[in-house]
C-alpha cells in the first residue's frame, strides 16, 4: 500500500508528515468548507433561487462584479505601466517604488478602508476637490471601485514583472530591424508575449476583489440597492440570523471564485505547454 503511494526514498518521516498534513488540512479547511456546500445542497431549490435572485442580492452581485472588473481593468493598465517602469528603467527611488507596491498586502484591510474614506469622502483630503466637480468618490460605485483597485494592484504588478524580465531583447531588435516602430513592436511583439501574465494578474486581482470586505465597507457607505457589496450582504444576513440566506449567497460567490481559480490554472498550464513546444 505504501509502496503504491510513493516511490522509494531514503528520507524518513513520509507517513507522519503526510498524515499530519492531510489531517490538519481536513480539520481546518476541507471539513468546514464542505459543510457550506452540504448546507447549500440540502436547501430546497426554490428557496435557494429566491434568495440569490432577490433584487437586493442581484444589485449586490451587479455592483461587486462590475466594480471588481473595473478595478482589475484599471490595474491591468496602470499595473503594466508600473511593472514596465520597474523592469525596464533605472531611476532614483525605484527600489522604494518596488517595495511600496506590496502595501495592500501589508496594510490590514480595515486600516486601508478608513484611510481611503478619509481621502475620498465628501470632506476628505481629495474628495473635497472632486465632489464639487461632480465626481463622487465615496458612497458610490466609484468609491467601491477605488477600494478594489487599491487591493488588486500588487497582483498585476507581481505577475507581470517576471514575464517582462524574461522578455527576449532580440525579438524586439528583430522587429525593429524589420522596420517596426516602437509602438508597433509593443502591440505586435511585446504585448502578445506577456499577455498570459497580464491576464493571470488581471484574473487574480478580479478574484480577490470579488471577495473583498474590509477595505470596501467604509468607503461604500452601504446604501441598500446602491452600494452594498456581496460580502456585506452575507454579513447582514448573519446579523439577522438568516444562516440559510447567507449560505446561499456565499455558495454562489465560492463557486465563482473557484471557477476563476480554475481558469487561472488552465491559463498557466496553457502557457507552460506553449513554452515547451516553443523550445
Amino acid at each position: 500500500m505504501r509502496l503504491a503511494l510513493k516511490k522509494h526514498s531514503v528520507l524518513p518521516g513520509f507517513g507522519m508528515t503526510l498524515g499530519y498534513t492531510v489531517l490538519y488540512l481536513s480539520l481546518i479547511v476541507l471539513i468546514p468548507l464542505s459543510v457550506l456546500m452540504a448546507r447549500t445542497a440540502t436547501m430546497p431549490l426554490a428557496e435557494f433561487w429566491n434568495t440569490v435572485t432577490a433584487p437586493r442580492v442581484l444589485a449586490a452581485f451587479r455592483l461587486t462584479i462590475g466594480a471588481s472588473l473595473a478595478g482589475a481593468l484599471i490595474n491591468a493598465a496602470f499595473g503594466f505601466v508600473v511593472a514596465w517602469s520597474l523592469v525596464r528603467y533605472r531611476f532614483p527611488g525605484r527600489k522604494l517604488l518596488d517595495a511600496v507596491v506590496d502595501m495592500p498586502f501589508a496594510l490590514p484591510t480595515a486600516v486601508s478602508g478608513i484611510a481611503l474614506t478619509a481621502i475620498f469622502a465628501e470632506t476628505g483630503w481629495l474628495g473635497q476637490f472632486l465632489f464639487p466637480l461632480g465626481i463622487k468618490t465615496a458612497i458610490s460605485p466609484l468609491g467601491v471601485t477605488i477600494a478594489l483597485t487599491f487591493i488588486g494592484l500588487p497582483f498585476v504588478v507581481r505577475t507581470l514583472q517576471p514575464a517582462l524580465e524574461e522578455l527576449d531583447a532580440e525579438m524586439e531588435e528583430a522587429a525593429a530591424s524589420l522596420g517596426a516602430n516602437r509602438w508597433q513592436t509593443f502591440w505586435r511583439v511585446i504585448l502578445p508575449t506577456v499577455l498570459p501574465a497580464l491576464l493571470t494578474g488581471f484574473a487574480l486581482a478580479f478574484a480577490r476583489a470579488l471577495g473583498e470586505y474590509g477595505s470596501v465597507v467604509f468607503i461604500a457607505g452601504n446604501k441598500q440597492l446602491q452600494t452594498e457589496i456581496t460580502s456585506l450582504l452575507i454579513m447582514i444576513k448573519l446579523d439577522q440570523y438568516d444562516y440559510a440566506g447567507a449560505t446561499a449567497i456565499a455558495s454562489v460567490m465560492l463557486v465563482a471564485s473557484f471557477a476563476i481559480l480554475l481558469a487561472i490554472n488552465a491559463l498557466q498550464w496553457w502557457v507552460a505547454r506553449g513554452r515547451l513546444e516553443g523550445a
Binding site: 492531510v22 448546507r39 496602470f78 517595495a99 481611503l116 525593429a176
Partner: protein, 289 residues
C-alpha cells in the same frame, strides 16, 4: 549609425516616454498606496500627541491588543508547524495526488474573508452543526475567543507552506541523503541540514502569516459578532470609527499601519537575502560546468 546604437534604439524607449511612464507610476502608487498611510498617521496625530496616547491607553484598547496577540500567537505557530510538515512531505517525496494537495493547501486564499468566518458559524454557531451540543456542554466558540482564533488560523493557513514548498523542492534531497548516510538521525538531519537551508524562507512566510493574522478583519468580524470582549485591534478600529470617534480609530489604526511598515521592510530585506542565497547555491553548480 553603428550596430550597438541601433539595437539600443530598438529596445530603449525615448527619454520623454520614460519620464512620462515613471511619472505615472509614482503618481498612481503615490495617491493609491502611499497617501492612505500618510493619512492614517496624520489623522491619528491631528489632535496632538496627548490625545493620541490617551486613546491608546484605554482599557478597551489594551484588551483588543491582547486578543490580537493571542490570535496571532496561536495561529502563527500552528501554521508554521503545518507549513514545515507539509513541505517536507511534498518536497522530499514523490506520491500520487501531490498537485491536488498543493491546490487544496492554497484554497483559503481563494475564499472570501467573510465566507471564511461563515463556515465556522455553520459548524459551531447556534444554528450550526454542533451548535446544540456545544450549548449543552456550555462551550462557547462563536462570539467568543476560540472562534476568533479559528477564523485567524483559517485565513493564514497557506502562508508558510506556500513559501516553503517551492524552496524545498528547489533544494532537492542530496544534502539530507548525505547526512543520513553519515549516520545522522532523521531529526538531526532536519535540525542541522534542512532547517538552516530554509530559515530565510521560513521567516519570510512567518512574517507574512503574522501580518495577516494581526490584520485580519472580515473573517474575524463574522465570528466575533460585534461584542466588546471579542474585539481584535482591526475590529476595535471599526467600532471606534462607527462611534464617530475618528481620532481614536486612527490612533489604533496607526499601530496596525506601523506593523504593516515593519512587515514591508522585513519582507524586502528577506527577499534580498533569499536572492543572495539562491545565487550562492547556483554558483558552485556553475563552477562545476
Amino acid at each position: 549609425m553603428s550596430a550597438t546604437a541601433k539595437s539600443r534604439r530598438a529596445t530603449n524607449d525615448p527619454l520623454w516616454l520614460r519620464i512620462v511612464l515613471i511619472g505615472i507610476s509614482f503618481a498612481f502608487v503615490g495617491v493609491l498606496l502611499v497617501l492612505p498611510l500618510v493619512v492614517v498617521f496624520t489623522e491619528a496625530l491631528r489632535h496632538g500627541l496627548g490625545t493620541y496616547l490617551t486613546s491608546l491607553r484605554q482599557p478597551a484598547a489594551w484588551q483588543a491588543i491582547k486578543l490580537t496577540l493571542i490570535a496571532a500567537g496561536i495561529s502563527v505557530p500552528l501554521n508554521l508547524v503545518f507549513g514545515v510538515t507539509a513541505s517536507w512531505a511534498i518536497a522530499k517525496f514523490d506520491f500520487r495526488g501531490k498537485s491536488l494537495l498543493i491546490t487544496l493547501i492554497d484554497l483559503p486564499f481563494a475564499v472570501s474573508p467573510v465566507i471564511s468566518g461563515l463556515i465556522y458559524m455553520l459548524l459551531f454557531g447556534m444554528q450550526g452543526l454542533f451548535g446544540k451540543t456545544l450549548a449543552a456542554w456550555d462551550i462557547e466558540i462563536i462570539f467568543a475567543i476560540p472562534g476568533v482564533v479559528l477564523a485567524t488560523v483559517f485565513v493564514t493557513f497557506p502562508f508558510v507552506a506556500r513559501e516553503l514548498i517551492p524552496l524545498m523542492q528547489e533544494q532537492g534531497n542530496e544534502e539530507e541523503q548525505a547526512a543520513l548516510s553519515l549516520g545522522a538521525s532523521g531529526w538531526q538531519t532536519f535540525w542541522r541540514v534542512t532547517l538552516p537551508n530554509i530559515k530565510w524562507g521560513l521567516l519570510y512566510g512567518v512574517i507574512l502569516c503574522n501580518a495577516r493574522a494581526m490584520g485580519e478583519f472580515g473573517a474575524v468580524s463574522v465570528v466575533a459578532g460585534h461584542r466588546d470582549r471579542t474585539n481584535t485591534v482591526p475590529l476595535y478600529v471599526e467600532a471606534l470609527y462607527n462611534e464617530f470617534n475618528a481620532p481614536a480609530a486612527f490612533a489604533m489604526a496607526s499601530i496596525l499601519a506601523l506593523l504593516g511598515l515593519v512587515t514591508l521592510a522585513a519582507k524586502t530585506y528577506l527577499e534580498w537575502k533569499l536572492q543572495n542565497q539562491f545565487r550562492e547555491t547556483l554558483e558552485p553548480a556553475a563552477a562545476e560546468v
